[in-house]
């Protein structure tokens, strides 16, 4: 299952907090796509994902100060 989390316009640390909450309700192997534009999250989201054992399947900059990251739950 794939789920999208649109947090464009939200400032830190809300994108990370919401990503964590979404992730709690997902099953192993599900993917969460997060679109965000808060600069600090380019550091905090991948760090959280790596440290909690999720796999990052995609991470790219889509525009000026806009990023997308896809995290697969518990697939590391």
């Amino acid at each position: 299952m794939k789920k999208k989390l649109e947090v464009i316009g939200e400032i830190c640390p809300f994108p990370l907090i919401e990503a964590k909450r979404e992730m709690e309700q997902m099953n192993d192997g599900d993917e969460l796509i997060i679109n965000f534009d808060c600069t600090q999250a380019t550091e905090s989201i991948p760090r959280w994902a790596a440290e909690s054992g999720h796999k990052i399947t995609n991470f790219e900059q889509t525009d000026d100060a806009t990023w997308t990251i896809t995290i697969k739950k518990g697939a590391l």
Partner: protein, 352 residues
């Protein structure tokens, strides 16, 4: 000569933007994520600066007198400042550099901050400010009130920080995936690579050292400072009085431009308008920051980075209460709403 402030500011803004040197986030994460990395980074910056500046003082480049310790104003002001930075989404310097990234919410916070600082310094709240500051202990210098030489405090700090850094760097590393590099060489290093917070901290510490002699040369014997200069911009704007223009004014403007250059070069600049709720919160946060920092005699930079390095009670007490303020606000802004949501989700499921 005032232009050296601009150069110093540009360097600081650049380093802070690229290094993601966010003290608000750092203090907040100590509590909500049990992550002390940014706090350790701040300690590194304090230590580097302390060693550097006291060396310069030792060789007679300038003199520093810590003055008195307005303990009540420092404690209350710092706590309020700590609450304000959570609402504003960044400390004073953080707000300046985020403004340079194009975050209009930070422009709003910055205006509130400048406004309330000016109100506290030369406006109708000036009597509140001065009467609270009048409650003071005669010595601010830790060395003077204890009789222990400053060098002992510095040595102790160096020892603590070295131990922390050693322990942190020895921890097993988790590989954190990053964006695919598009550039190589200097451009990659400056505009793309993720900077280790400890490296950023050393750079911040060095800039903080350089600030002292550069600022002293213009007659302002102090290091990095954000609050008074930010207020000065507004005071100058409404009075036209050139006395408000000093090295610090150029410093804070430099932070803005430095961060803009860093963000633009790494494609991280874009004008971003917050929603109404964030806008209002930012404005309130900015005002609390201005009120708190003025009362405390400094923000997380002036007190938390500089006065700590100068081994003053004001610096360390302020740092402690800024952190406590940040934690208090974090509880209400980040922790409580989450708990509430969880409770309502479970009780909903139960009813169903």
């Amino acid at each position: 000569m005032l232009l050296t402030g601009l150069i110093c500011g540009v360097l600081l803004g650049f380093v802070m933007q690229r290094g993601r040197f966010c003290l608000t986030g750092g203090f907040r994460d100590m509590y909500i994520a049990k992550d002390n990395r940014m706090f350790y980074a701040l300690l590194i910056a304090i230590t580097v600066q302390s060693v550097g500046v006291f060396t310069l003082i030792h060789f007679g480049l300038f003199d520093f007198s810590a003055g008195q310790f307005s303990w009540l104003a420092t404690i209350i002001g710092s706590f309020i400042f700590g609450i304000g930075i959570v609402f504003a989404g960044g400390c004073a310097t953080g707000t300046w550099y985020r403004a340079g990234e194009g975050l209009l919410g930070s422009w709003i916070a910055l205006f509130g901050y400048m406004f309330m600082s000016a109100v506290m310094k030369t406006g109708f709240l000036a009597p509140v400010d001065s009467s609270m500051k009048a409650i003071a202990l005669p010595t601010n210098s830790m060395s003077e009130s204890t009789g222990i030489p400053t060098v002992v405090f510095i040595a102790l700090l160096v020892f603590i920080v070295t131990t922390i850094v050693y322990k942190e760097l020895k921890k097993p590393k988790v590989v954190i995936p990053s964006l695919k590099p598009k550039y190589t060489g200097l451009r990659h290093l400056l505009f793309e690579k993720r900077w280790h917070p400890f490296v950023t901290a050393v750079l911040v510490g060095i800039i903080a050292i350089i600030a002292w002699p550069l600022s002293a040369a213009t007659g302002r014997v102090y290091g990095l400072g954000i609050t008074t200069p930010s207020a000065n911009i507004l005071q100058f704007a409404v009075t036209g009085d050139m006395d408000f223009i000093n090295w610090g004014v150029f410093l804070v403007l430099g932070i803005f431009f430095g961060s803009y250059i860093a963000a633009k070069g790494s494609r991280e600049f874009r004008f971003r308008m917050p929603d109404a709720k964030t806008g209002i919160t930012s404005f309130i946060g900015g005002n609390l920051m201005g009120f708190g920092a003025s009362l405390a005699g400094g923000c997380s930079i002036g007190n938390g980075l500089v006065m700590t390095a100068m081994m003053t009670w004001q610096g360390w007490f302020s740092l402690l209460f800024i952190i406590l303020g940040t934690w208090t606000a974090s509880y209400f802004v980040f922790i409580r709403p989450q708990v509430k949501k969880k409770v309502s989700a479970t009780s909903g499921a139960y009813l169903a």
